[in-house]
Amino acid sequence: MAELNIAQALNAALSSALEDDRVVLLGEDVGTTGGVFRVTDGLLQKYGPDRVIDTPVAESGIVGAAFGMAVGGMRPIAEMQFMGFSYPAFDQIINHVARIRNRSQGRFTAPLVIRIPYGAGIGAAEHHSESAEAIYVQAPGVKVVVPATPYDAKGMLLAALDDPDPVIFLEPIRLYRSIKQEVPDEAYRVPLGVAAHLRQGRDVSLIGYGSMMREVNAAADILAAEGVSVDVIDLRSLVPFDAEMVIDSAQRTGRVVVVQEAPRSAGFAAEVVAQVQEKALYSLNAPVERVTGYDIVVPLRRAEKHFVPSVARVVAAARRTLEP
């Protein structure tokens, strides 16, 4: 066991994954520099340039080549440097990665992992702060997962690699170095598609994922200190979505707040709300609240804080659901 942050836990997972000869990493600057977030630090030195591959600047090429490798029996892990640079690969993802299993009726599969750092909060330049996970949810055939802790980061990355289907693996940029946690040295898996029930409560359910879990947990602390009994769920996986845990929670509390960093319209929170009201309408004591980013481009450093949902906004939303 070692105290690791998310970036280190991912590095440990990748290093363990590379023990399997079928695994290769591809991406811009993943080798010599160890990646802009140092997630792949030291791996080139350890596994050599055939396994840790610095590529030309071409995201569609990276994903398309990784796809071909995966179809041919490898287990590639492709890195997009930032989510804002993953869009050129969107066609490859939605039209090929997500579809080859169905297109070939199971004869060919593409078990690859596409790692994408996402989210705002570090005052970065334009395109470096995106949360566009919903577009990948609209690409049937891929799984979309997002860890929020070092333990989950390692366990989910290894599970994603084992998965027979392609996985979009989102990494919350602003949590990379902000949380430390004991992480086992050996390989382990955290199953995909299962949410984490972080806190049991009766009064209100806070549902979040990825980069927003810090705010969600902080809001839960504040509410709990006020005597509110809070149920907290970290979805961890958007596809598959653990609706069961969410619905169960909604039925118990009757009050639900769904938190996402992405712009609001047709984001994943809308899906959660839709399912809650479909399956738990008669348990609801108040409208399900969405706390989200806005339908705008993420502001640059000086005004970014107005965009990313704050603890206060989450708390206020929870209080609204609790109003008599």
Partner: protein, 344 residues
């Protein structure tokens, strides 16, 4: 790179160059071209009868497709487009795959076990990079397998062509890029698709070898493909082959080529027919006879009738089955939606 495409067999069937193929091999490839033509014409005809959905005929491109795929070994990969049924078939994808697919049935995409052909890609441009990854993966797995990708002149305009060519060159992947320059991308003539002197010249941008070949000449295509495959297999990297050919039919059965090209040019190209050229050569070598030809045609024709009849008899997917192909295990959402679909 010479702008003059290499040719071994002239349109009149005379040979003016060396070929590594002996007569029996040429007969086998001629037979394959003939089968492909019969298939292609039958498929177009059946589409007109409403038995198949839109079909994209490859008539006129048989030498490209048979000549290139013939250069491969079974461990090699074929990654083609909607128009590359001939090459895919020679490498083990079946007429049944193609026809079932064209009836509008996903099961057509299920490549037979052991066969290394990806089901056809319909988007233009996206598939070439897959051949880069496949070839690269072979090498990383210690195999000397090669990946052949077929695509059109129009596909060279897509960004994905560029990224595929660049990756292949930078990583020296065992990939053969086979461009069938058939003169048109739907209604767009090649000279308005690009100002490159030739498509083969595009290889310069990647430090790759570019080769130009008469795409209606089976022997020339075969030699070019064989050389590129051998080079890739040796570890000497990728090659771009531009095969000059012509799509004699419409872009698809939904297309009316009268809107963008004259009958005159079609007639001109019929003179350069890839089958007739080999047939003349075989005749001169006393290696062709009418009965043989008729036999192939008839056998293939019957086989195709049977396959389509079978395909039509196959029950279409039920509402339940449309969910099965998506993931190894259906997600909770899909199980729920499947139940909904079954209720109707």
């Amino acid at each position: 790179m010479s702008p003059e495409p290499r040719q071994i067999l002239a349109p009149d069937g005379t040979r003016h160059g060396e070929s590594s193929l002996e007569i029996p091999a040429i007969r086998r490839l001629y037979q394959a071209m003939l089968s492909a033509r019969v298939f292609d014409r039958k498929a177009s005809a059946m589409q007109r009868q409403g038995r198949l959905a839109t079909y994209s005929p490859f008539e006129g491109q048989e030498a490209c497709q048979i000549g290139s795929a013939a250069a491969l070994s079974p461990q090699d990969w074929v990654v083609g487009s909607y128009r590359d049924g001939g090459a895919m078939w020679l490498h083990g994808y079946t007429w049944r795959n193609l026809l079932l697919g064209r009836t509008g049935d996903e099961r057509g995409g299920r490549t037979p076990d052991g066969v290394r052909v990806l089901p056809p890609s319909i988007t233009v441009g996206g598939h070439m990079i897959h051949a880069v990854g496949l070839g690269w993966g072979e090498r990383l797995q210690g195999s000397d397998g090669v990946a052949l990708t077929l695509f059109g002149d129009g596909a060279t305009s897509e960004g994905d062509f560029h990224e595929a060519m660049n990756f292949a060159a930078v990583f020296e992947t065992p990939t053969v890029f086979f461009c069938q320059n058939n003169g048109w991308a739907i209604s767009m003539p090649t000279e308005r698709q690009t100002r490159s002197e030739t498509i083969a010249h595009k290889a310069v941008a990647y430090g790759m070898e570019g080769v130009r070949v008469d795409g209606n000449d089976l022997l020339a295509v075969y030699e070019a493909a064989t050389a590129a495959v051998a080079k890739a297999r040796r570890g000497d990297g990728p090659t771009l082959i531009e095969a000059i050919t012509f799509r004699v039919g419409p872009h698809t059965t939904a297309d009316d080529p009268g809107r963008y090209r004259s009958e005159g040019i079609v007639a001109e190209w019929r003179e350069r027919d890839p089958l007739e050229r080999v047939r003349r050569y075989l005749v001169a070598q006393d290696a062709w006879d009418e009965a043989w030809q008729r036999e192939i045609e008839e056998a293939e024709s019957r086989a195709i009738e049977d396959i389509v009849a079978d395909a039509e008899a196959l029950p279409a997917f039920t509402p339940r089955e449309i969910f099965d192909g998506m993931y190894a295990e259906p997600t909770a959402q899909l199980r729920e939606q499947r139940a909904e679909a079954e209720r109707g």
